[in-house]
Structures are given as C-alpha cells and as structure tokens.
Amino acid sequence: MEPFNQPDLSVHLGKVQLANPVLTASGTCGYSMELRDFVDLTRLGGFITKSITLEPRPGNPPQRTCETHSGMLNAIGLANVGLELFCEEKIPLLQRLPVPVFVNVAGKTIEEYVAVASRLYGLEPVRGLELNVSCPNVREGGMTFGKDPRLLAELVRAVRKACPDTLLIVKLTPNVTDITLLARAAVDAGADVLSLVNTFTGMAIDIETRKPVLGNRVGGLSGPAIKPIALYLVHQVYQAVAKPAGIPLIGLGGITCSHDALEFILAGATAVSVGTAVLVRPSCLVQIIDGIQTYLIRYRCKKVTEIIGSLQ
C-alpha cells in the first residue's frame, strides 16, 4: 500500500511495469555508468541505451554536435561498440541497474535488425527493444524504414517474429507528412509501444568557412526548441492511433522539467524520455520524477495513470 498522499507513479509499457514514467532517451545517456556520479539511477522509471548495431561503428567525422537556439544538432552517426562488445562489456554493467532496461537497436537492413534483436532476445536484464527507424544521420539509421509505412511494417513483423514475446517499442521519426500512417503501420505489424519523436533533420552553416558546421553536413535537431512540434505529434498519434488501439506511447522531444513532461503525459504519453536535457544536467531526471509527484499531490490524483491523455 502506498502511504497517504503518495500518489502511485507506476505505469505499464505493455507487460513491463515502470516505477514511474521517466526514462532516459537513447543516445544521450550512454550505457548508464557514465551517469551514475550525477544522478541516482535507481530512481528512474527505466533506462534506454544508446543505439546498438550489429557491427561496431566509429561514427561520423567531427564536428559532431553544435548548439542552436534552445536546441542542438547532432550527427554522431550511431557511434557504438557493436553488438558483441555490448553483450560482453555493457550488459554486465546494465545488470546492476535495478530498473527495467530497454536496448535501442539500429540497422541497415531487416536482417541486421533481426540479428541484433535475436541476440538480445531473452538476455537479462533486457526487458524490451526499441527499434530506431529514424536516425537522420546515417544511411544505415533506418530512416528509410521510418518514412515508408510498408517497409516499416515489414521490419516490425520480422523483429516480432524473431522475438515473439519481447516488448517491442518502435521509435518514430517526425520528418514525415503524416506520422499517424507510420504509427498505425507499426502497431498493426506488432509494435507494443511507440516512442516519438526522434530528431528533426537540420543544418548549421559556418559563414566564415562557408561550410556546414557538422562533419556530416546535416544533423538532427533536439532540445527545448522542438518541444512544441514533438508535443503536437504525440497528441496526434495518441488521438488517431494509440488511444483507439490501447497502445502506450513514450513521448520525448525537448523535455527539461516536470512541466514539460506533464504536457506530454496530458497529451497521451504513458511515459516520457529525456535526452538533450540529460546532457546538460543529469539530475533533471530525478527532478522530473519529483515534479510529477508534486503535481499529482497538488491535484489530489491517486495515480499518474489518471492524467494520461486527459487533455480537454
């Protein structure tokens, strides 16, 4: 039993229960050990790893990030240790984390996604997979899947088949005309959860050198700048797809404080991820959890689930 006045913050992503709705975003929180000196990771609702690919990837040439007004561009290029090293060195560290862990998976081909997903399938402590079909920074980032409902459905079906009872999260790109088409395709093909949004394709130019600032020329925009657009897309997908289908959403894009997180929850997100803001202040993750709790107490809500999608 919860003590008096302590609202129940727990939520479910499919069959996985989170102690609270606050997750890390993929690619901004490393493999968790990088964060532990700055934030109490045991407080998290869950942890989502950096994207893992079949082979190790050095990533794009520098400059890889660049600050913009209330935002940043990144073109990391899915730099990661690759599946094998991940299993060998990062999985044991992640096992020590007493919160649900979700591994974000990226690939060039369906076969690659399936290979990574199958290897991780059933591995402790992996409680689910998040398919990154929306990285704007590498041809292999899955963006082709993320923009074409037919391809996306094919991919999701293939991974679903390889991992019949894993929690399957599909992370959508905002760079499309109608995100609900992609959302529906993913759900129909077997996704348990949708997360949105990934970054917006953007660019910055150095007017002195007349070259793009980023080594990769273009990058993905994240941070507070994009919050209004991300929030609208979550609202749209909730109304058109998630609510009717009973599919939980993970909302993200520019969240820095509990106020932002609550906007996403009111719009229909069951959980939220925090990316760029963690780069600035890891402890914001805990502040967001505390702020949600304070809000629920202020409005005498017994459970956070009461307010999910409660936008009038």
Partner: protein, 327 residues
C-alpha cells in the same frame, strides 16, 4: 552549499555542485579570472582534482526552466584549487567575507553568450557546475626531471594549476612558456619589470607560474612583448641554446595549431609529453560522443569509441602527445 545528487555514501569521484562566486577579476585582453567558492563535504572530490581536469559550467540559471538559451554547459579547465584564498589571489589583502571551504579558479576569455553571462556574475551569485571531469596530467615519476609547460592564450590556465601541483610534488626544474596574441593578454599577470632583455632567458615574470616558483618565457605574436613570434618558435630556439633541457618532459595546452606544432617539435627532439586537448563538447561526461579526436589505435575500444576515435571529455582531455593523429 555544494550538493551532489544520487551519490553513494563514500566520497564521490565527481558530481554536480552549486558554487558561489567569491570574486571575479578582469585580466588583460578580455580575460577574466573567476573564483568560485564551494563549501561542505561534497566539495571534497573537487579538492582532489588534478591539473588538466575541467568543469562543465552552466552559463545560465538552470532552475529557471523558462529560459534555455544558451542550452549547453561550457567546459573550462581548472586553473587552480585551494582552501587558501591567498594562494589563488596573492595580491588581495583579505578573503571576501562569507566564503569558506574550497576555492576553485577558472580563467576564461569572453567569446560568446556563455562567457558573456559568466562575466556578468558577481560575488555571491550561484553557479552550477559538474566536476571534476576528464583525466588530468600524469606527473613524471622522478621529481628531479626537467619539465616544460608550454601554453597559448586560454590554454595556459591548466598549466598554472599543473605548475602548482608539480611544485607541491617536489619538482623544482619547471619552466613555463606562455604565448599570446598581444601583450595585453599578460597585462595583470606579468611582472614586466622583471622581464630580461633577452626574451629567451627564463625569469619570474608570470605571476601564476611564479607562485609555484616556475620561471617563464613569454612570446607574443604581434611582437609587442617577450619573444617576437609564436611560443613554439621560442621553445625551439630555447632548446637549441640550452642543451641541458634536451631531456625535458613537455606538457602543453592551447589552440589546436599550437598543439600540433608542439607535438611536431617534441617528435623531432625526441621528447615525451602530454597534451591537453580542447574540443567542441556537448556534455563533457561521455554521454553524447561529440568530442571525438582521432588517435593512433586500431581495435574497437570498450568505452564506446570504436576504432580511431577517443572522447576528449572522458578519455582525455590529456593524452600522450604521440598518440594524437593531427590532421
């Protein structure tokens, strides 16, 4: 005062802190020295910081969630740390009232919105920081070794701190090489009266080096003071004249072009040394993979940098000179 979140009970290695501005003084050439005060036990990990380590400073009020531009923290090398105010401010008579604990100095140049904000902070204002970050310089094993500290512009501050630490560790053969664009850079820090007529004769001219008994040679690119030209040229000529320094260990920090020139010189003279790199950083703590630098290594690394890239913020900022691929 200091607070760090989610720490295990034992002394944390590093953390998030709220420091207070003890004072801020204007040096020459758009440079400021900011002295931060940290009280309480959590600051202990900062007391252990090594020269070459840096802090990530929030150049806005992070608690005002309605204002997020400039978004990212700014990295600054630690220029000095002491519980003794006078050590970092030898020319001030008394410690400003109300500040106890640890004093941490950064020296920075006003360039853009972050440093402009910093320059507006006044005694008593709060500043949020993460630190100490990265890996510092490793000192030579033998305190009798000769050590050359060569830096340019805002690359000098970590070397001041290194001189402090070398001196505390018993090193006595220390020599500083300080380069700048123009003499106003040294305005308040240099004791120009002591400047020898031959610019290649070391002397106790530069206060932050002199405080740890380190003589220095100055160079300015506009030839306004000291050796006329780049500080690397000055070192080159110095080594030609002074063969007794031909085995010196070299530590350097500064703009990339300078570091490359120092590494080049070190290779030609067969000198070992370390370089403290700067790079564009978004997090400073190994999360974002922004700050990569190419290093001579073939295999994938367990730290997330596969193949040729290392993270300046976590694998560095200090690297062995010969490991860096200068492009």
């Amino acid at each position: 005062m200091g607070n760090s979140i989610g720490q295990t009970p034992k002394m944390p290695r590093r953390g998030e802190f709220t420091a207070r501005v003890a004072d801020q003084i204007h040096l020459g050439d758009g440079n400021n020295s900011l002295l931060l005060a940290l009280a309480g036990q959590p600051a202990d990990c900062l007391a252990q910081a090594k020269a070459g380590q840096f802090i990530q400073v929030a150049c806005r009020d992070l608690n005002d969630f309605r204002q997020t531009d400039p978004l990212l923290r700014r990295p600054f090398s630690i220029a000095g740390i002491s519980k003794n105010y006078q050590q970092l401010r030898p020319h001030s008579d008394a410690k400003p009232a109300g500040f106890e604990g640890l004093f941490l100095e950064i020296i920075y140049r006003v360039l853009g919105p972050g440093t402009a904000w910093l320059s507006r902070q006044k005694a008593g204002d709060s500043i949020n920081l993460l630190g100490p970050l990265g890996n510092g310089f490793s000192l030579p094993g033998d305190p009798n070794e000769k050590v050359i500290l060569i830096g340019g512009g805002v690359g000098l501050p970590p070397l001041y701190f290194l001189a402090d630490q070398l001196s505390q560790a018993g090193f006595t053969n220390l020599l500083g090489f300080a380069g700048a664009r123009t003499k106003s850079h040294f305005e308040t820090a240099a004791n120009l009266a002591k400047l020898p007529s031959d610019p290649l004769i070391p002397a106790a001219v530069l206060e932050p080096f002199a405080r740890s008994k380190t003589d220095a040679i100055l160079a300015t690119e506009d030839r306004s003071i000291g050796f006329p030209g780049s500080i690397v040229q000055a070192l080159e000529m110095f080594l030609q004249k002074r063969s007794d320094w031909n085995q010196a260990r070299i530590y350097t920090c500064g703009p990339k072009g300078m570091l490359k020139a120092v590494a080049d010189l070190a290779r030609r003279h067969n000198l070992a040394g370390q370089v403290c790199m700067e790079n564009y950083m978004s997090c400073g703590i190994g999360l974002c993979q922004s700050c990569v630098v190419a290093v001579k290594t073939a295999a994938a690394e367990p730290d997330g940098t596969a193949g040729k890239y290392k993270l300046v913020c976590s694998n560095g900022p200090v690297f062995d000179m010969e490991k860096i691929i200068w492009d």
